[in-house]
């Protein structure tokens, strides 16, 4: 569904990705693991066109995304939940959802305000509250809900468990399993296995801007050597 080969990305003159690759099949949850600074966020931003990749191919359903404008990439059905959540603080929760809204598409689950509220009941009483007055967990839920409003086929989640309490992380895991059962494909960038270990079908591990390990989630959970080498400080 999404295939990256040989992706190079620069920030100014500093190279952040060195020939990164990724292959995501329809309906999978793929974990993108690695330490802080390994290039996970940059990879997701390169997919979205937020930081343009200067070499390689990024093919989503037979379309080359590299060089395309961000809003078009989003319109093809890729939802993006950034690490910093980037809630519009000037807008109310309801307005944040409104900004994310896009027409439905035949090959993706259709989301309405009612349905995302059902998925995140905690947001229900907050609809009129300004986005700047939410807790971290509430912001995370809103960020996911907002991207779902665009009826994506695939969702990119950048460290959704960061800074959340263990109970909320579990709820997040249940939410991802639920989305998967509805047919949504997901890439989950994480530094630890506490969320990814619960839900990932397959895993890619990054280090210094390139992919150094890939295999099934189960294999990675069993491979303590690799975990130690790539994830622990």
């Amino acid at each position: 569904m999404l295939k990256l080969t040989g992706v190079d990305t620069f920030y100014g003159r500093a190279q952040a990705l060195f020939g990164a690759r990724l292959d995501v099949r329809r309906g999978e949850v793929v974990a993108l693991l690695g330490r802080n600074g390994a290039g996970k966020s940059t990879l997701l931003k390169s997919i979205m066109g937020l930081v343009p990749a200067s070499a390689g191919t990024i093919v989503f359903e037979d379309r080359e995304l590299r060089g395309m404008e961000t809003h078009r990439i989003a319109r093809f059905g890729i939802g993006y939940v950034p690490e910093e959540r980037r809630i519009f603080t000037d807008l109310s929760v309801a307005e944040n959802l409104e900004v994310g809204r896009a027409p439905s598409r035949p090959d993706a689950p259709e989301w309405t305000v009612e349905r995302v509220i059902e998925l995140f009941p905690n947001l229900a009483p907050l609809m009129q509250r300004s986005g700047g007055h939410l807790s971290g967990g509430e912001q995370q839920m809103l960020a996911v809900a907002r991207s779902l409003m665009g009826n994506p086929k695939m969702i990119l989640l950048d460290e959704p468990s960061e800074g959340l309490a263990p109970r909320v992380v579990e709820a997040m895991g249940a939410m991802i399993v639920r989305l998967k059962s509805e047919g949504l494909t997901a890439i989950l960038a994480e530094q630890s296995l506490r969320l990814a270990g619960l839900v990932a079908d397959r895993a890619y591990v990054m280090e210094s801007g390139t992919v150094v390990w890939d295999g099934t989630g189960r294999d990675f959970l069993a491979d303590h050597e690799a975990q130690k080498r790539y994830l622990m400080a």
């Binding site: 937020l50 000037d90 896009a102």
Partner: protein, 612 residues
């Protein structure tokens, strides 16, 4: 009592246009992050187009139809300029965008001159509202009452548009974080064009509404843009309600200032603006600028030129400058002296811009303060040129200390707008304070001392002074103070954390650049033999920015090349055609389109072998 009420109402009526223009500027900036100088041109065109349409359609209902039609026409023009020009520049350094929109302003000025002629155009009385109403025994024009109602009405409509429609929500989202909005599938292009249309329409409506109150002139564009900057800075960027409050405040100051300080009402505006900014640095209803939005100015792109080449280049330049008199006549010498003067001016601007990271839209204020300081000393007190040249940098440095104290508290475009507002205030004082500055006529007879009257001697004098000042600036830039300034430019938070007093460092940097510009101003006064307010008008500030861009930020000979190019071009074009403003504007726009990342950025790109 009645008199004051009526005066208050006059102020409220005056606020309407100001509010329309300022909130359009604020909306456009909010979404596109472009400070649009041409916004004032749309205001002027709104008045001119409405004038012609009224002539054509007749003064009856024609006036109201012309009001609407003119706004829509100019709004469409604004949208066209966004599509054809600005769209290509959104990723450019903000300085480039600014200079490009100033190019548009120049072109529009000459086009308006060609189409409507140089005379002031007296508009019709508003049909149906040409009478007046008795209030507290005073007469209040009906049209004023109409304007008083119109302001809040537009405020209400805009608020509804932004909060109740999907388009408005998208605009607010993009204002806050346009990349995130794009990642949610929002097409910025349509949004930007739409906002530009709305903003230009509001500006044009503001201009057209002024017709029955004041004649339309070719100076409307720059006057209103400076006032709109003040309103936006005082009200808070991005807040429409803030713009409304500030417009009322400023307009009331004008209305009552006339009673107290008829000569220099502008001083009152200055005092109020200063008080507001001390109490609320981001304006009445504004919020601190989000660092995420800030596009740093093209930061130090060392071109990687070997040191020996730099030395050879400098020697070559020095040789040309020393040998120039042998090749040129008196006229050539005067021109070369002017190039030197502006090279110092551009270098001082380059100092706060490149090293300090502060964009000043009003650097001509310090050139002017230096020139006026020297000229006043010589012509009013009869002191010699030498004293004038000593006082010039001191006067400008003192002015920069005063204005800079406020400016360095802000950053980014706030700082830029505030610096322009201060420059405009300095200009107004020079223009209005007739008894001291001679007003529009300026000060005549500012000649060098006897030994320096020959163009040749004066050229060498200027060369020596400019070379010393450039060397001084260069040394300061590479001193510990210079490094502190750079650190503050790149990250003010980190700099604070390692113990740099960011505000103080930037304040002194600002003052130093002001003093250097004042030195140039002193030289300029004695070169020309007179000083007039034009020396600190907005176009001179922009000229400085163009020179810096032409020559490239962060280079030693850059300002010299930039000054030579611009002074040369201006002289050439001015002698060849009388629409030099339009030609120059078109050149600037072309330059911005050809090198959308700035000339320096392009050179850097080639140097790196095409990588971005």
């Amino acid at each position: 009592m009645g008199f004051y009420v009526v005066q208050f109402l006059t102020g409220l009526a005056g606020a309407a246009s100001l509010f329309l223009v300022a909130c359009g500027l604020s909306l456009v900036f909010g979404v596109t992050r472009v400070v649009n100088f041409a916004h004032g041109s749309f205001y002027m065109l709104g008045a001119f187009v409405a004038y012609s349409l009224t002539k054509w359609w007749g003064a009856g209902l024609g006036f109201w139809a012309a009001l609407v039609a003119s706004s829509v026409i100019v709004g469409a023009l604004g949208a066209a300029i966004e599509v054809l020009l600005l769209r290509r520049l959104y990723r450019s350094p903000e300085l480039y965008q600014l200079v490009a929109t100033f190019g548009v302003l120049l072109v529009v000025q000459d086009a308006a001159l060609a189409l409507w002629g140089p005379d002031n155009l007296l508009g019709p009385r508003a049909p149906g509202l040409s009478g007046s109403v008795a209030l507290f025994g005073q007469r209040v024009p009906q049209y004023d009452l109409f304007l008083i109602v119109l302001g809040p009405t537009v405020l209400l409509l805009l608020t509804l548009l932004l909060t109740r429609t999907r388009w408005g929500r998208l605009v607010r989202a993009a204002t806050e974080d346009r990349d995130m909005a794009a990642a949610l599938g929002v097409n910025q292009r349509h949004l930007f064009t739409g906002v530009f249309f709305l903003g230009s329409l509001l500006a044009a409506l503001g201009g057209a509404l002024q017709l029955p109150r004041a004649p339309a002139t070719l100076f409307m564009d720059l006057n209103i843009i400076a006032e709109a900057f003040v309103v936006v800075v005082v009200g808070g960027m991005g807040s429409i309600f803030g713009a409304f409050l500030a417009a009322v405040l400023i307009a009331e100051l004008h209305a009552f200032g006339i009673l107290i300080f008829p000569q220099v009402t502008i001083v009152l505006v200055f005092v109020v603006m200063a008080v507001v900014l001390v109490v609320r640095p981001w304006g009445l209803l504004g919020r601190p600028e989000d660092a995420r939005h800030r596009t740093p100015t093209e930061i130090a792109t060392p071109l990687g030129v070997p040191r020996c080449l730099v030395v050879i280049g400098l020697i070559a330049v020095a040789a040309v400058l020393m040998a120039w008199p042998a090749m040129a006549g008196d006229y050539g010498l005067k021109l070369a002296t002017e190039v030197l003067v502006f090279a110092l001016f551009a270098a001082s601007l380059n100092f706060i811009l490149g090293v300090g990271g502060m964009i000043s839209f009003g650097h001509a204020a310090y050139l002017g303060l230096g020139a006026y300081g020297a000229a006043l000393l010589v012509s009013r007190l009869g002191w010699p040129m030498e004293a004038g040249l000593v006082v010039a940098p001191l006067a400008a440095g003192f002015g920069a200390l005063l204005f800079g104290w406020f400016c360095v508290r802000l950053s980014g475009v706030y700082l830029a707008m505030l610096s322009l507002a201060f420059a405009q205030i300095a200009w107004s004082v020079a223009f209005q304070w007739y008894d001291v500055t001679g007003g529009d006529n300026g000060i005549q007879g500012v000649w060098p001392s006897a030994w320096a009257t020959s163009p040749l001697v004066y050229y060498y004098l200027a060369l020596a002074v400019v070379a010393a000042a450039l060397f001084g600036l260069h040394r300061v830039a590479s001193s510990p103070f210079g490094y502190a300034l750079r650190a503050a430019r790149d990250s003010s938070l980190l700099s604070e954390a390692i113990g740099i007093d960011v505000k103080q460092v930037r304040w002194f940097g600002f003052a130093l650049a002001g003093a250097a510009a004042g030195m140039a101003g002193g030289l300029y006064a004695f070169l020309k033999g007179n000083v007039s307010p034009t020396v600190m008008a907005i176009p001179v500030s922009i000229d400085g920015l163009v020179m810096v861009l032409l020559g490239g930020v962060q280079t030693v000979v850059g300002p010299l090349l930039g000054a030579a190019t611009l002074v040369g071009l201006k002289t050439e074009i001015a002698s060849a055609t009388n629409v030099w403003r339009g030609v120059l504007g078109a050149l600037i726009i072309g330059l911005a389109l050809l090198f959308p990342r700035g000339i320096v950025g392009h050179l850097g790109r080639w140097h790196r072998g095409g990588r971005p």
